[in-house]
């Protein structure tokens, strides 16, 4: 219930899509995406204070803090949990901002066709292969290393700059 409260406070419309397999039971996994921006509370030098507030309106150059919460509401462990998040349109992925405890993070620069860690994600430029910049990433993927226990919540975070 706490999760729903958070989602509503964030001004978002929580939504669980039906499972894509027709022969499956309904999903009991709650996945929610929260977008926040950092707001200055105090700008006194040496005593800067920030708080995170739900993002509704963006200005250019602003950094959006995205958090994904994946909660297992079933009574069995979930295996091979993976999350794929497109970098939102009109934003640029901020280098090294993707994190997720106990997850392997990889990226795609080709619209999600292939994924690789940031230090080995290559793109083709005029026939030669070179390391992709963070700004060229199109998708982020988190793969949980361990099964997600019943009742547990996994967090995946990243930041993107609005342009």
């Amino acid at each position: 219930m706490l999760i729903w409260a958070v989602a509503l406070a964030a001004g978002l419309q929580p939504l669980i899509q039906p499972v894509t397999h027709a022969d499956e039971q309904p999903s009991d996994v709650l996945t929610e995406l929260i977008a926040e921006v950092r707001e200055n509370v105090s700008t006194t030098p040496g005593r800067e204070l920030y708080r995170f507030v739900p993002a509704r309106l963006l200005e250019q150059g602003q950094v959006v803090y995205y958090t994904l919460r994946i909660t297992n509401q079933t009574s069995v462990p979930l295996r091979n949990v993976a999350v794929v998040q497109p970098v939102p349109a009109n934003t640029l992925y901020l280098a090294d901002s993707a994190s997720g405890p106990g997850a392997a993070v990889s990226f795609s620069a080709d619209g999600g066709r292939t994924f690789a860690p940031s230090d080995s994600l290559m793109i083709e430029v005029e026939g030669s292969s070179q390391l992709a910049h963070a700004a060229q990433y199109t998708h982020i993927r988190w793969q949980l290393r361990n099964p997600l226990a019943p009742g547990a919540t996994a967090l995946a975070r990243f930041r993107a700059t609005f342009r």
Partner: protein, 328 residues
Amino acid sequence: MVRARWLSVAGIAVLGAPFASHAAGTAAGTNIQSTAQVSYTLGSSTVVTASSNTSTLRVAERLDAVLTLATATVQTSPGALAEELIFTLTNTGNGIETFNLTALSAGVVGDDFDPTLASPAIYFDTDDSGDFSGSDLAYNPGVNDPTLNADQSVRLIVVNDIPGTVVNGNRGRSQLSAAAATGTGTQGASFGLTGDGGVEAVAGTTGGDAVLFGEYLVADVQLTAVKSQSILDLFGGARPLPGATITYQIVVTPSGTGTAANAGFTDPIPANTTYVTGSLQLNGAALTDTAGDDAGTFGSAPAEVRVNLGDLSGASGPQTIRFAVTIN
């Protein structure tokens, strides 16, 4: 297979994003949406995929303006009328914005004199000629304030008269201000839901306004020419006998401030003498007699030498021209 299924969903999310991108940034009112896809294995082998909620952010309208000048310093002369400064106003915000314009000449600091604003003082470059001309429409505050799309520019002309009392080297400044009609303020200042499509309008890095001054420089460049001659007669002396060669040297010296544009030098060949073919020089370098291939020309009807000196200012220094004739 699992990967393939997510990707189809993710791919639609990307393709379906109806965003237009501007150099000035994402358009005001645009929604930025994001949905994550999750997959997991339930039980022994059942693979399930699901979507998160869609996070929607709306893009605020950023109010920004930039003014530039075609020429920061315009040369003028005492008493000149309708001297123009050519500005370009660009809406560097991300929405459609109307700008209020103001011109100011009296009291702009840092100059020697106040130009006199014409009435009206601001014009649109209606005929797009890049300068002030009769068909240009006067700016009328509150009536024809320019409305610009994101990244759009408009050329504006500020017109001043120059007092007759100014002297060589005096500088007079005149400034143009453009302010977003929605509001101006320090960066980040909010003007409520007054932006395009009812989004919040926020002052951008420029504060939503722009101020820029141009300068009139009273330029009174003077060119002085000093001509000298030397004679070499057929006997090695310096007597003006028939057949003797006279070499003329003319030194043109610019002084004062400003630039004499396209300065030219012309000297007729004296009567009873004949130009020595190929003898024309500028600053020690030979010039051909043919027109068009370099700065020098010998014209036969009337017989004269012509040298194009280009734009001369005090910094150009003296220009030395030489040519020779023989006495008939």
